[in-house]
Amino acid sequence: MPGTPATDAPPPGDVRAGTLELRGVTKRYGPTLAVDDLSLTVPAGKVCVLIGPSGCGKTTALRMINRLIEPTAGEILIDGTDVRRRPAARLRREIGYVIQQVGLLPHLTVAQNVATVPRLLGWAKARVGPRVDELLALVGLPPGDYARRYPAELSGGQQQRVGLARALAGDPPLMLMDEPFSAVDPITRERLQTDFLRLHRAVPKTVVFVSHDIDEAVKMADVIAVMRAGRLVQFAPPAELLADPADEFVADFVGADRALKGLALTRLEDLDLPPAPTVRRGEAGGDVRDRVASGTLVPIGGAVLATGDDGHPLRWVPVAAIGDRVEATPGRTEPLLSPVTTLRDALSALFEAGASHGVVVDGAGRAVAVADVATIGGGLAAPAEKAGDA
């Protein structure tokens, strides 16, 4: 980008993520060892989920990374630099921080909340506004509707989306998230998880994510750190954790239905899904029939998926019912799935909707593929592959 000042955010596509390393980190409260000699490395751009029972030291470990808590011993390095080398407030502006209770500033609008870190970093006003709009759109809150609202005017899920946008606003290389989705209902949680994964694909960050929910961990993590009483008991990619728990404790924690949990290791994008048989509203009926005859359009159960000009699915229409032109009013195409939806979530969405297949839509809401129960079930054979690359 010619003419852009050097301090600007990196151009899209450039990975801004840092390697995080904990070396022998310990935190003692009187006789309690909240965190006991914790060492681990999270490679740049990866999601590490810290998991373990309540009180095992997850929050303490997380808060030592952005110096909300000072360790009793050990060191924490980001890209090789000790976090204590910089003033704590400066450091925190470069580390996204999301917590379960969100903690938005109630007296500031959504836009002002999201602008917090850019303004602390001294960005010019002309740059902050567009950045706020961009982030609100990114987390699924159209700025036109939400920018001027106050936090009290939002649902819990919407507040957490704003919390996520606020944490991302300064484009930090590292994100710390402490049970960010635990306080919302299961459906909202599932959506937030999926949206977060999609976001993470687009803008990879190094993420430390605290959870007490093994399903969430398996779904979100590149690598899982299981903690018990302040100590690290296993540090492994999800597939390895499921296949080979280090000890009885981890096995218990992972639970009995390990095979089923494996379904959460594969995402729809990992499967070879047939493209959605889409026809545009207003397309000539003759053209549709020609495409079917030539095999370039493969109807499902005799029906094709009508979309608007923007590619958003409108409804299924039987090929036989198409006359001169494709006519379609918006109807039921649920469930809509995302490429990053796990097979486990996809199956449960299909069962819940009582549907045999779902439409996979991309980030812009365009129908790209169709997933049916049989194809998803076939994915059960695949999960072991992921163990290799994480």
Binding site: N66, L68, A89, R90, L91, R92, R93, E94, Y97, I99, Q101, V102, G103, L104, L105, P106, H107, L108, T116, V117, L120, R149, Y150, A152, E153, G163, R166, A167
Partner: protein, 217 residues
């Protein structure tokens, strides 16, 4: 009900106007002085138990000294006139403002403060951008209470030569064989001032805290 001497009021309209303005000035200066002392004190002691107890205790003692005695006690140190009145009235207001401000600052949810620190605000930025704005409703409660009572007690300022509506009630009324017209006029005007100032402050608070009246819970 003895008759009100409207002709007297008419003849003294100018004097009455001057005394009303003086009364407002004394009240305004006292509140400004009280805020200038109480806010820093409240901020300094907000997170500490013993210093808060000491500050609140001193302010409470000041509040319990009879007003006339307080003004008289100040006289050896200041000239007669507005100064002892303003200092005395400010001393009265301290307790209400310190206590309410500390309540407001302590009422900021820990999670909001934690998130603000976590985003990289310095302690000073947390105070100015988070704690004080969120404490504003409580601070305004203290300021309104203090203002209303100051308007009333300010009538005693006449005794130390501070002027104001107290002069109307005392010099023109009570000291002239209980001439009722100025006493009533002074009382009505004082009450009206108190009500008007309270409404004004309520309006200011409404304008300053748009976030407090939004939300759908």
């Amino acid at each position: 009900m003895p008759e009100i001497r409207w002709d007297w009021l008419q003849r003294h309209a100018d004097d009455i106007q001057i005394m009303t303005v003086q009364h407002l000035e004394i009240t305004g200066l006292s509140m400004a002085l009280a805020l200038a002392v109480a806010l820093p004190v409240a901020v300094a002691v907000r997170n500490r138990r013993v210093p808060f107890a000491v500050a609140a205790g001193v302010a409470d003692v000041l509040y319990t000294i009879p007003s006339l005695a307080l003004f008289a006690l100040l006289l050896p140190y200041t000239d007669i006139g507005r100064t002892p009145a303003v200092i005395g009235l400010a001393a009265y207001a301290l307790s209400m403002i310190v206590r309410n401000t500390v309540v407001g600052l302590r009422g900021v949810p820990a999670v909001v403060r934690d998130a603000a620190v976590g985003q990289g605000l310095t302690p000073r930025q947390v105070l100015v951008r988070v704690e004080l704005p969120l404490a504003l409703p409580a601070i305004m409660t203290g300021v309104r209470l203090a203002t209303v009572s100051t308007v009333g007690i300010a009538t005693v300022a006449a005794f130390v030569g501070g002027g104001g509506l107290g002069e109307l009630i005392w010099d023109k009324g009570i000291q002239r064989e209980m001439f009722l017209t100025p006493i009533l006029a002074g009382t009505v005007l004082t009450t009206a001032l108190a009500i008007a100032l309270d409404a004004l402050l309520a309006g200011a608070q409404w304008l300053l805290t748009p976030w407090a009246r939004r939300g759908r819970t």
